[in-house]
Symmetry: C2
Subunit: 194 residues, 2 copies
């Protein structure tokens, strides 16, 4: 029986996520990750500067994907419609990663250092979206506010998505955006609980 | 001539901010901060665990101030009106700190580590506001979305405030909130630039 082998980078990520989940992030070494992936430490360091970056490798891809979607939205799209296109691109990308994304989330929740890094990455994602909006001619503070709104919907929607398995990520992102619209418009207290 | 002397804690904060501004955060030691404040290292460590925390000492006070204002808003206030009360409380508190707040912002902007810490503190502030909203009976995801919207308005409004000296922080926060409302309602691209 032969089994499909993902590339070295993918194997290292898979091994790292497994080990972080089993032993905890702090107690896992690069040597152990390399061994589990059937590779050498040297190979690990060709792909990642340290074990922390294994978890944030996707952030740059995500940032590019979202930024491109905002840039490519129709010229007449409103700022919120342009960032919605970005949200859908992010939703489609992460939907495919499925269990990996949920496990990663739990690992990050267990470490103050990783939470700080993740929080900073979300701000960088927002800054990239705001940049893309400004290049579309959106003024400030509208560009930064629309970008932050998108990141908020993404962060909160993503958490809700990993806690259930009925709705797709894009569906949940759309619902969350509708809810944000209602909240900012001054909707009264609702008793719906997620 | 006698000069009013703030308490030890305040003097240490003042000295730290000055030194971080003059020499950079990385190159400033706790010994230097204590010397500038006319105090000992031992006194420093009675007030702060390390030099980083001097910059984040106000975060807990801010979190309490904002959380209390959200809790104390009239029972019938909508979620967005409750968080607006929180924003005004934050605005009033930070307005008084004036130049300190702006200098702190520039120091944080110069260090990746401090940026990560600040980003995490903002997420914690958002979580505290969401908690206060849930205790008022606001459901999810409305509570988390309203809280994030408030933190976004706060973060972006605060930056705008430090870049000018015509408007009060509360005025700028109100304007930013109006702008967020317009953006989420689907307002088209504006060409107003901040």
């Amino acid at each position: 029986m032969t089994r499909w082998q993902p590339d070295a980078r993918g194997r290292l990520q898979q091994a790292a996520i497994e080990l972080f989940g089993e032993r905890g992030y702090e107690r896992t070494t690069v040597a152990e990750i390399a061994r589990r992936a059937g590779l050498t430490e040297r190979t690990f360091f060709r792909h990642f500067p340290d074990k922390r970056e294994v978890l944030f490798d996707g952030s740059n891809t995500l940032q590019r994907t979202v930024g491109d979607a905002v840039t490519d939205a129709p010229a007449e799209a409103s700022p919120i419609d342009a960032v919605t296109a970005g949200l859908h691109a992010a939703g489609t990308m992460l939907q495919e990663r499925g269990p990996f994304a949920g496990l990663r989330q739990r690992i990050i929740a267990g470490s103050e250092e990783l939470q700080e890094r993740e929080a900073k990455k979300l701000l960088a994602l927002s800054a990239a979206v705001a940049d893309a909006l400004r290049r579309r001619g959106v003024g400030e503070p509208a560009a930064s506010l629309a970008a932050d709104a998108a990141i908020s919907v993404f962060r909160i929607g993503f958490e809700r998505w990993t806690a259930q398995d009925t709705h797709s990520l894009c569906e949940i992102l759309d619902e969350s955006l509708d809810e944000l619209r209602a909240v900012t418009a001054g909707a009264p207290i609702t008793s719906v609980r997620g």
